[in-house]
Symmetry: C2
Subunit: 247 residues, 2 copies
């Protein structure tokens, strides 16, 4: 859900226990500024590459039904809807879900904790794809991803777009850890900074495997001017039913 985390600096914070609450609070506090930033397309990386990249990656799989987790004000749901894909959005911020509903579409106000413990809260049907577009921001996303995997059709995929680890590592270096997004590159005034958890490529791969997912495809959208990757998109499917180690 975040816009451009590349300028985040190390926060030097410890103790992950309250970070999820802090993330949730920041989205409520920043809901208005965020909605304007997305709808006015003022976040450059999204405008020049990453918005189109996530849409193309989803559309390439020709899904009929998609769940967008951390949908924010709903732009991805609307973009996929315009491609004829039945898309449901879910977000933990009541203010963002309200903004999303105002623009039309099916949205549920459900926190990640609620979604993890009660996936049926967004309906009982299975999805051809579940998208997490810059919306996995906590340190432990394995329980959520494990549940999202169960919400997939047999040939479905979880499609994650996140900051490119190599570009986004920041001053804290290429190691997992908490960072702080200040939204300094956004024109709008954001009321609160947001903590987010940086993960190396190796850590992303381990996280997915622990959630029972295997990587099917990687997409690295480039900045058309500089040639630098602006994000990392991971398409991950449920690990095969066959356990190779015992077969």
């Amino acid at each position: 859900m975040s816009g451009d985390l590349r300028d985040a600096s190390s926060a030097g914070v410890t103790g992950p226990s309250s970070r999820s609450d802090e993330i949730a609070r920041s989205w409520d506090a920043n809901a208005g500024a965020w909605t304007r930033a997305v709808r006015e397309r003022s976040i450059e990386s999204r405008r020049i590459a990453t918005d189109a990249a996530i849409v193309e990656t989803v559309v390439a799989r020709a899904p009929r039904r998609v769940l967008d987790v951390g949908c924010g004000e709903g732009w991805l749901c609307r973009a996929l809807g315009a491609e004829g894909i039945d898309t449901v959005g879910v977000d933990g911020s009541a203010a963002l879900v309200e903004a999303a509903r105002d623009a039309g579409g099916e949205f549920h106000h459900v926190s990640y904790d609620e979604l993890t413990t009660s996936p049926a809260s967004v309906g009982l049907s299975r999805f051809d794809a579940v998208t997490c577009n810059f919306s996995l921001l906590a340190d432990d996303v394995v329980p959520l991803l494990r549940v999202l995997a169960t919400m997939l059709q047999e040939d479905g995929a979880v499609i994650i777009q996140t900051v490119h680890p190599w570009i986004a590592r920041g001053e804290a270096g290429y190691v997992d850890g908490w960072r702080t997004e200040t939204f300094a590159t956004c024109a709008e005034h954001f009321a609160e900074p947001m903590p987010w958890y940086f993960r190396t490529l190796a850590s992303w791969v381990e996280t997915l495997l622990r959630a029972g997912l295997t990587i099917e495809r990687i997409v690295e959208p480039l900045n058309p001017t500089t040639g630098e990757p602006l994000s990392l998109i991971i398409v991950a499917a449920r690990a095969g039913e066959t356990d190779r180690s015992t077969s």
Copy 2:
């Protein structure tokens, strides 16, 4: 097999057809300089990080029998042998295989083409791991990897160490293509430059999937001084027998 490709520059060459021959010729021409560079540990990235990283990654899987493809003068075979692992080396350079045999161990002089068409040329037993330590240098490595996958035990893995795509992209930018290794950072005099094919992360993942392999683990050895990743290690297992798309 290459040492430190990070300083390679774009060669501006086209036409991949003769590149494999050129790669093979360069290893024969550079065999003496290469053997000295490895045995005198004069390649910094290997000394400070990547040698230990590939050994640790292999040992962590507790394999009994390993095939090292592109073994060069044989150091990895000897290092794994010292850990009690039965390791066989194969290389396309007669001069390097001779140097490897001089230091002791089981080595076969077999080109990648021969290995691809006649995998039994290195024996009929299956391996718990197949290593490719900086030794996948051609543009199309899918046929070779597909054959290596068939040489694995059920729970075996192909373990590839390569230059880190985000660091090694060089002036040609973050796009697949041929580069030239000049060995300029090595103290020894190398007779010939070597063409090698640069692959983005996305391209590596696609290559593995096309070869019937799925990624089980990624390791990114860091330079202990700068914190930059010095290489990318990919541990890949045979894709499950279950085809999810039809099950």
